[in-house]
Subunit: 141 residues, 4 copies
């Protein structure tokens, strides 16, 4: 499966007075690329909602390597790096669209909950989605 | 009724690369002070929700007069400036907490909708809230 | 001059608990489309900066007509609607990328300042930029 | 040294369509409390700027334990948990102001740079600040 790279252009309102994108926005960029990945593999938010699943964030990490300036374009490259049927981890790289230099890297951890906030066992309840995630595991975008 | 002034301290993440608070944040500050006003007059969000009312924003305006810098404290002073039983307008002043200089002014317009997004006639359906708003009309904070 | 439409996909972090995009984000979308317009007409932020010009926001207005939901795509269509050599106004329409329905409309007013925050007279100091703005005036994107 | 607890009230614009505060905002709350801590110990942003020091974020982590709802009040409790003269780590707890329950925990790592983005050796260049940080190390707020 060929995934399309997710591109983001740094917005003026994302900068801070140090003249670079504020670090909190990378956490939002991770989300943008995660939503895009799930959509590309056929598990869009609409489908999740139909299935009555939510997937909250349990934890995030981010390392900041190079700053991003206003109007710069970056690729945010997500990858499902672990999955055990209950929880999954997405790893991210933020790279300059121009030079491909690594600007930031990070992870987010998630679980699946049903509408009453009970954990969902994908293998049993959503075997198709389970297979999707297994296929994506360590898939090189 | 004596209202307590709403104070906000400009956060680092609210600044942009011009070295001042980004203009979009004043719209958020208006909301902060509006929520605080409604809470102070006894019509908190919880009570609205219990009553099954939502109050979406129909329009906003803002004029920017003086910049606000990181760590500066401002008062945001809301005032219910019009109300006809169906819609209301809140007017805002953002003033330096130190010098009282006017930094920005603006307005937001709102209606009341029930849970099925039908307009609510406050006078008939929520006479207490109707009276509250009438009392607050042009109240000098 | 043929301008490319500016598209934005509503992000999860832009929603609020009413389940729609928070109204403050439209002000940011206006900025996104304004930056894009200025870039397309050859007056990017980099060029402004080189020329030692900043262009702060003097005022904004927004009217909210239809809500935007998470993952919806919208076009933000900016148009330079007034310009007198000292100040300019940009008018915006936010339209559903799917149905073309009008979701929001608004304006922002700006001036040009030099690096010491003195007003810049474009006609005299930057005749090329002056001509650009005159050409764009009421240009139908 | 007795430190005042840093309190934040969850704003409407901080919620997302899951009906709770969006996870990216906790990273901003960490910053709010860090700025407040540095100010309380006498090393405000103004003083840093005077001294020609910036202190960028090298990394952040956050674990999300309990959701925060609109209008809830939380304490964000920062603590300087490591410092070696070149880099420092701040650890955070976000706790319900009502119940004291732990909602989130995290860390941020920072260095000190001078105005030409060279690392600053606090002990040599700013012995007073060095002593401050050493005193604060593992100080129980």
């Amino acid at each position: 499966m060929e995934l399309k790279k997710y591109k983001h252009k740094a917005q003026y309102y994302e900068t801070d007075q140090m003249g670079v994108v504020h670090h909190s926005n990378y956490i939002r960029w991770f989300e943008e690329s995660r939503v895009d990945l799930l959509e590309q593999i056929g598990f869009s938010y609409d489908k999740m909602e139909e299935a009555g699943i939510v997937s909250p964030v349990l934890a995030v990490t981010a390392e900041y390597i190079l700053v991003t300036r206003f109007a710069e374009e970056v690729f945010i490259i997500p990858r499902i790096s672990s999955f055990n049927g209950l929880k999954f981890t997405v790893s991210y790289e933020v790279r300059s669209a121009e030079s491909n230099e690594l600007k930031a890297a990070g992870e987010s951890r998630h679980c699946f909950l049903d509408s009453s906030f009970k954990p969902v066992r994908l293998k049993k309840d959503f075997p198709d989605v389970y297979k999707l995630f297994m296929d994506m595991l360590n898939h090189e975008g």
